[in-house]
Symmetry: C2
Subunit: 271 residues, 2 copies
């Protein structure tokens, strides 16, 4: 942990946010990273707003106390439901995963019909719909509850996942004609190639954008004092924390991160 590198904290309820960390490591290599997965209390999606905000604030405070200069909320549920509370709780800049990808979609495709693939909990929050509509995009949200379990099973290039995607996308394309498809879950970058292929097979030419990529771009350009770190040629350093289930974290995390995971430290946030 160099005292000269900026420290970027990345928070998720689980290990899905490692896809965001992966992109950050590529885009801002000169930083030090602290990743925290609140695995003891996942899934956040089924919990009440008050509970989610309390969990996210506890996590944000832990990360600020560990010396973070910037905080990325790599969790769709917390981004949807707890941003004001998090921003209020810590004295550092905070970025969620929803606004960046919607901003980028709007910048590249103003007024576009936009299909958002996400978990049931994210769709139920309508956070993407609200954010898209505020920018004049025409959103259509499609819940894809089987994709996370399929990805966690390791079936990221498997005929069953292909068939499930085909079913979900056919259902969505029956009621909208998108120019852009947003992967609105931090697990989904692992099946981005499959989503692109399946859209092509269904004669849909929409561009597929993922929130990890957009969030890393906005962090690199929007967070203060990171200009040097984006130009660094040395490899980023990072440390990982989880609140439970370190076994699953270790087993699946490296697929999400795209490189071996360092030792995951167990911490207790209470609750």
């Amino acid at each position: 942990m160099s005292s000269h590198s900026p420290t970027i904290a990345v928070f998720d309820s689980g290990f899905g946010g490692l896809t965001v960390l992966r992109t950050l490591l590529e885009r801002i290599p000169g930083a030090h990273y602290i990743y925290l997965g609140d695995t003891a209390r996942l899934p956040y999606g089924e919990k009440s707003q008050v509970t989610i905000a309390r969990y996210a604030v506890e996590a944000a405070r832990f990360l600020a106390d560990r010396g973070a200069d910037h905080l990325v909320i790599a969790c769709n549920t917390a981004s949807a439901l707890a941003m004001p509370e998090i921003v209020e709780a810590v004295p550092i800049p905070v970025l969620g995963v929803i606004e960046p990808v919607v901003q980028m979609t709007h910048y590249r495709h103003p007024n576009a019909e936009t299909l958002i693939l996400a978990t049931t909990a994210t769709v139920r929050s309508h956070a993407y719909r609200t954010s898209c509509e505020a920018r004049g995009l025409h959103p259509f949200e499609k819940a894809c509850p089987l994709l996370v379990p399929l990805i966690e099973e390791g079936w990221t290039d498997h005929h069953v996942t292909r068939e499930v995607l085909r079913i979900y996308l056919m259902e969505a394309l029956a009621v909208c004609s998108p120019s852009v498809v947003i992967l609105g879950c931090t697990h989904y970058p692992l099946i981005a190639p499959l989503v692109r292929e399946t859209l092509r097979e269904l004669a849909c030419t929409a561009e597929v954008v993922d929130s990890a990529e957009a969030t890393a771009f906005v962090a690199a350009t929007g967070f203060p004092k990171l200009a040097e770190a984006t130009k660094s040629t040395r490899a980023a350093t990072f440390e990982c924390y989880a609140t439970d289930s370190i076994e699953k974290f270790q087993r699946l995390g490296s697929n999400f991160l795209g490189q071996p995971l360092p030792a995951v430290h167990l911490i207790d946030l209470g609750g």
Copy 2:
């Protein structure tokens, strides 16, 4: 709630245990039932033993305080990891879901090679393996992590679920030749016909037994003072409680119960 009917409480971390309640309603129609799903704190499977025991004891005490005469733990994780603590905590007879189905398997097929299909968490606990080995059965545990999400998607008679089952069962049958297949998850009774068909297609003649059926049988015969209630011709009465996410409970619960769900009451067990 008649003061003359015995009251049987049924506890699960979610609504999967409604398949156990469904069978109990058929087998012991003259009882009053209280169902509790600790939906705020699911899934139990990824949590530590100490935490699971604490949650289960809180739920058991709530149900005993509501006037339960008997308690069925319709949750594989709590049955595997918290039975001694639950039995200690409440002054009423307690039955889990693991022992009954293993007892029944052993009674009908002594020394049988036994395939247990279950969630990753249940397999990791090896509760079925331990119980089977103690009776001289030869267990083989197969984790089937996609089955619960597929059932919750409502795809209980769907070609994707059929294909996933075929893959899981082929993997299992490559290393064992079972005479009995135990459905070791309270969700699985909803796909019991599919499991039987798929086994037949794979030329496996194993008998499929489910823990809901076995648990209801052992409750009817083993709980004291239920003889009258098993012979009753009137319909059972029941009340439902959940700790969060009542929407999902209401939406999916009736499929599991096999009849419309009554109003689900929200309660707070803390935590």
